[in-house]
Structures are given as C-alpha cells and as structure tokens.
Amino acid sequence: MKNRWIALYVENQVGVLAKVSGLFSGKSYNLQSLTVGTTEDETVSRMTICVTSDDVTFEQIKKQLNRMVEVIKVIDLTDMPIHMKEILFAKVRNCSVEDKAELFQIAQVFHVEVADIGTDSVLLECKLTERRNNELIDLLRSKYKNIEIVRGGAVAIESISTSCAGRSEYFRK
C-alpha cells in the first residue's frame, strides 16, 4: 500500500465530480485527496487525485476511470517527475508576543507567508507539498492550543526540465 497520484482530464459538466468520487466510494477505493478545476480549455476540467492502494487495485482504478464516458484522459503521475503543491491556511490564536515572534521564525524556515496579523493572532499562508504541510501542522499543534487549519488538497503538474527527473522525490515530498 502506498500513495499514488493521478491527473485526470474530464468533461467540465454537471455530475462528473460526483461520478468520479462515487467510483471511489462505491468500489471501496481509498481516496486521500481530490482537487478539481477548469483547464486552459474551459470545457475540460483537470483533477489531481491521490489514492492509497496496492498495485493491483491501482491498475483497476485507472481502468475504471478510463472507461467512464466523461473521462478524457488518465495520467499516472506516480513515477513521473512532477511539481506538486497544496495550499493551506493556518490561523493561530491567543498568541503572546513571544509566540508571534516564534511564528515569524517558523514562517521563515518553512518558506510560508504571514498573510495577516491581529493583536493576538497570526495567519500563515502555505504553498508546500502535502508532506511539508503535515509537518508544519504537527509543529503548530505541539506548540499552540488554539489553531485553525484549512487545506485544499494537492494539485500537480508534470515537470518541464529533465533536471527534475532525478529529484522527483524532492518535489513530491
């Protein structure tokens, strides 16, 4: 069992998201995240899907997606060099002055932006890999009591430069 990534081109129509997500629930596939948005062609949407599965199930998932009339193309990103990012907002409340200073340091180390600030709260805006976002959340949880997290699921695109190929693990981490 491991995490695998799929980019899915689908018709930008009513019900397609329900059909795709329904496949995962109906056939007991383990869906980790699914994001969707329109592409450069507004009649086409692109989904980035992360599933946890064994090899056989993953093959079956790709085939099942492929046979849907509304699915235009299935791309297996699992072993491809890709760029992948997830947007995440983290709001930390009840901060002391020291807390705020520390949050600025954390932001610097994690390469995230301080998007907003109040008398006793800080809002971090993060565009990191999912794994790095998880690490940030773990850190915030260990240090602060009152945090609020919203995250969007990862989006991914194939790399351009060959130099990325050997470092794909870095990009997907």
Binding site: V14, G15, V56, Q64
Partner: protein, 574 residues
C-alpha cells in the same frame, strides 16, 4: 435555414433515424408530451406494460432477443425509480438500452417538486452513461450519443433525463449523423501480436480448454466459436451467460462450469494447463476460491473491457478485443491439436459423475426440461432467477437458432416473465418459453395483462415447489434446516421451527391456473411425469399466453453445488 421544431418532435425523429420500431412506455405527467407525439405519429409501436420494472425487463428481453437497442420511456419520480433494478440488471449483463425518464421543468429541479427525483444521481453506478438534458440545443447530440454508447463496445444501459420544458421547447430540427465523444473510444480492433501469443500457448498445451462467457453470445459469434472449437479440437466449457455459445450436444462441449456447473466441466478447469477464456469476467460464481482456480493453467483472457482483465484473476496473456473479432482472427491460424487423451479424461469424469437427477419418485425438473428440449428444439428460452434457472442452465439443450436469456450478473427475481414477453414482442415468429419459479413469478405477475393486451404468446412454465428454493437449499445444507422466510405456504399459525412440508400445511396461494384465467389466459397444473408431454403439446397449440404449473418437490436440490468461496473442484454431488 431549417425550421426550429419542438423537442418532442426531434425525439420521435431520432427514434426513427435509429431504426426504433418498438418503444416500452408508461405514461405520467412528465412524459405526456413524448407519448402524445408518438401517438400522433403512429409509426412506432408503443407497448404499455403494467409496472415500470416489468417495462424495463421487457425492453431487456426485446434487446437480447433482437440484438437491437431496447427503448424505454417512463415518467419522473416513481416511474424513474421503478426502473433502477432493470438498469442494474442491464448494466451487469451488458444489454443495450436507452431509457428516457421525464423530469420536472428545469426551473423546478432542486425544489422537491412533485415527482422530482435526481435519477441521474441515483443511477450513476448502474448505467453506462447518464445525463440530464439542460439545453434544448443539446437534445439531438445527446440522443445520438445515447444510442451510440448503448450499442457499441461493451453494450449497456444509457439514461437520458428529459425535463418537461425541453420536450416542448423549440430548437434545431436536425438529428446529427455522426457522433464524436472524446472520452469514449470503444475497442474496435484486435492486438494481433498479443492474440498470437495467446494462441501459441493454446497450441502448445496438452490439456487446453476454452472458457466461454456471455461476450460470445453478445457478439453473436456462436457459429464462429463452433468452428474454432471444431478446428482446434479444444474442449469448451461455458459460464451461465455463455451457454449456447456452442451447441450443447457437440462432443467437444463439456458443460457449464461454476457453482452449479457440471462435474466434468469444473474438473476440466481444475486440471487444464491452458485456459483460453473469451468474454467472461471471472465472476466469483465461476472461480470459487481464487487461489484454487485453474491452479495448473496459464490463462489467456480476451475481453472487450480492459477493467475486466486481471481484476479477479491475474492472467498470463491479457487481450482487449471484441469476442467476435478475436475468434475471427484465431480462425486464420487455428489448426487441429492432439486432444484425444484429454477429451477421454473429460469424458471419464462425466461418466463418473454425470449430470442427473433421481428418477425413483415423482416428477423432477430434469424430466420437465428434457421434455421441453424435445418439444422445442428451437425458440427462445427465458428464465427467472433461482433453482429453476440453474436447472435450466444445466439441462436445456442449445442448438443453432436457439437462444437462452437469463439474468446472470444481478440475479434479478421477476426478470423472467417480462423479459420473455419482450423477447416475443421482438421475435413474434419464434416460440418463447419462460421458465420461472413460483417465487419469481409473483414478482411482476401483473405483466400477464401486458402479454394479453399485446396479444403475445409466451409458454410460461412455473416450477412450483412452494418455497424460495435456492435459499432453502442453502438453509438445508448450511443453516441446520432452519427455513427462515423461505416457505411460501407459511402462516402465522405454523409452528416456529417447521422442518418441511407436512400433510397439515396450509394451502398454497395463489392458484396459478385461476390467476391465469382471471387475466383471460389459460393454464394447467402438471403433477406427474406422464402429464408433462401432453401439457406441452397443448401449450404449443394455444394461440395466447399459457401457464403450465409444474408441481415440483420442495426438497429438490440443484446439484452439483460448490459452497460459496470454496474451490470449484470441491463439489457437493449428492
């Protein structure tokens, strides 16, 4: 510039261009426009059933018998939800249907309007494609797509949800001639290299075996399959859906394999060294325990659906292709193989445990089915679901020109009788024999009115054993003879732990003969072996639908049997 026309007019135009001559329709508020248009037009025959579930099974039977697309029209809400079972059935057994459900007007959708349901949402997992028409200008394209998707590739049901205001709105009058769907590319060719690899394996085998599924029947490749079997001298076993792919009396045909398969067929699958399967998805009823399935064999798998390949059984040579095209290609290479010893081994297994029921007391299903074979060498046999279905799949003989229609994947009780009516509507010149049980017969019994009003003749053979026999059989063998909810004579006054039929049992209801008569049909009850032939003779001579109620012993079992999840070679034989 061409004149704009109402959606309802384009709808009828589309049906005509698609060659539709028969439509199964049940009226309701949201399809009255469509019905009115068909009525005024008058060229397309409109069949009015008595229930929407019966309606869709009739369309399935029609489609199976004719090879054409079955067309259904039902209204919104309950009309639509009533066809869901049939959609699932058609989805499983790959029957081409175009089902149009009425829908409330676009501006009412989502308001919980009267008879509004999200039928596209409800049926997403049991249709090949489903869509709500949201713009009148898309109607022609969507109708064209629907027929194309239903009948190409692996056939299946397509649902079009048609809001009332789209039916009346004016829009383009053209029905498109071509269809372009960028996400839908059904398999059209055969990968020759891969098929050659498969054939090489077959040719080198000492104990080769064909496992043939419903795909060969759907592709109507029966003659070619027979030729391939004869040319290669490789024995054939079939699934229930594959029955009739080759004539059952052919010396190379072994029988059905699977849960209630023939002993020799299951043994052959267990012993073969190359299993060349065409058009089957290795359902659990065929494989049993997956680890013990064809343990000595290299497996070649031809199927039109990539998702069916290496899902349940990991195969050595996967081939995505239409069964008919693959067989045609194989015929170009096919050469005789030395299979004499292997065939002799299979024959020895069959002699060891032949397919046979006791003959020592009373009338058995085997006697009835053998007489049906004698009386009706051709024609269409349609079954319902249960013990009678398995007996029919074991004992009905299939020759050229004969057809076997059954609900294989979903196992839908209530399928048989309406499907038989639909088959007869599609093929009025062929004799249609419906084999049903007393349980399944009571699901969709109302369709007798459809048969009578349509003037179609179906010979309905009801195997009445006073119980839901398939489940009772499991209770008898695996549940300590606790017959929970399977006795159809049981009343509140019966003892709690009844172990079977006794003298004092309450009478059976309904009286099927009287029931037939109440619809203006006729029927006879058959109790002994001697009465079977005269009853069938009589039925043959009748002009309209008849019921033959065969009184079968309650404790009659379907044998052999493999317990669900066990290896297929571990058969209960007695």
């Amino acid at each position: 510039m061409a004149m704009d026309i109402a959606g309802r007019k384009l709808f009828v135009k589309a049906l005509l261009e698609e060659g539709v001559d028969t439509v199964f329709g049940y009226p309701g508020g949201m399809v009255t426009d469509l019905m009115d248009e068909l009525y005024r037009h008058g060229e397309i025959s409109l069949v009015l059933p008595r229930h929407e579930q019966g309606l869709i099974h009739e369309a399935e039977g029609y489609a199976k018998a004719t090879g054409k697309v079955g067309v259904c029209i039902v209204t919104s809400g309950p009309g639509a939800t009533n066809i869901i079972t049939g959609l699932a059935d058609a989805h499983y057994d790959n029957i081409p249907l175009v089902c149009v459900t009425g829908q409330v007007s676009l501006n009412m959708i989502g308001n919980d309007a009267f008879q509004e349901v999200d039928i596209v949402g409800m049926t997403r997992s049991v249709t090949k494609y489903g869509v709500t028409v949201r713009d009148r200008k898309d109607l022609g394209r969507i109708l064209k797509m629907a027929f194309h998707i239903a009948r190409t590739g692996k056939p299946g049901p397509v649902l079009i949800d048609l809001p009332k205001d789209i039916q009346t709105a004016l829009g383009p009058g053209e029905y498109p001639e071509t269809v372009a769907i960028r996400g839908y590319k059904p398999s059209e060719g055969v990968h020759v290299g891969q098929l050659k690899r498969g054939y090489k394996l077959l040719k080198a085998a000492k104990k080769p075996l064909f496992l043939i599924g419903g795909g060969v029947n759907i592709a109507r490749a029966n003659d070619k399959m027979e030729e391939l079997m004869e040319r290669t001298r490789v024995p054939v076993v079939t699934t229930v859906m594959g029955k009739g792919a080759v004539p059952t009396d052919h010396p190379y045909y072994v029988g059905n394999s699977g849960m209630h398969g023939r002993y020799a067929a299951n043994m052959a699958v267990g012993e073969c060294d190359v299993l060349f399967s065409i058009g089957t998805r290795f359902n659990d009823r065929i494989t049993g325990d997956l680890n013990e399935f064809a343990p000595n064999a290299q497996i070649v798998h031809v199927d039109i659906d990539t998702a069916s390949i290496s899902r349940n059984v990991v195969v050595d040579v996967p081939i995505v292709a239409d069964a008919g095209l693959a067989i045609e290609k194989l015929l170009e290479w096919a050469e005789p193989q030395e299979t004499g010893a292997w065939l002799a081994q299979i024959r020895a297994w069959d002699e060891e445990n032949p397919l046979e029921m006791r003959r020592d007391r009373g009338m058995t299903p085997q006697m009835i089915l053998e007489q049906i074979n004698r009386e009706f060498p051709e024609g269409i046999v349609v079954t319902d679901v249960g013990q009678h279905q398995m007996w029919a799949s074991q004992y009905i003989e299939m020759k050229k020109g004969k057809q076997f229609i059954t609900s294989g994947g979903l196992g839908t009780m209530g399928f048989g009788f309406p499907a038989a009516i639909g088959a007869k509507i599609g093929c009025p010149d062929r004799e249609v024999i419906c084999i049903s049980g007393d349980g399944g017969m009571q699901m969709n019994i109302q369709e007798l009115a459809t048969a009578m009003t349509q003037g179609v003749k179906v010979i309905v053979c009801i195997f009445n054993n006073h119980c839901l026999g398939m489940v009772r059989q499991m209770q008898q063998l695996f549940y300590g003879k606790r017959y929970a909810a399977t006795c159809l004579r049981r009343r509140k006054s019966c003892p709690g732990d009844c172990k079977g039929p006794q003298e004092a049992c309450p009478p059976y209801e309904p009286d099927f003969v009287k029931l037939a008569e109440s619809y203006g049909a006729s029927g006879v009850r058959v109790r002994t072996e001697e009465e079977i032939a005269p009853a069938l003779e009589w039925a043959k001579g009748e002009a309209q639908t008849v019921f033959l109620e065969f009184m079968v012993a309650t404790d009659e079992l379907v044998l052999p049997m493999v317990k669900s999840g066990n290896p297929m070679t571990e058969m209960i034989l007695k």
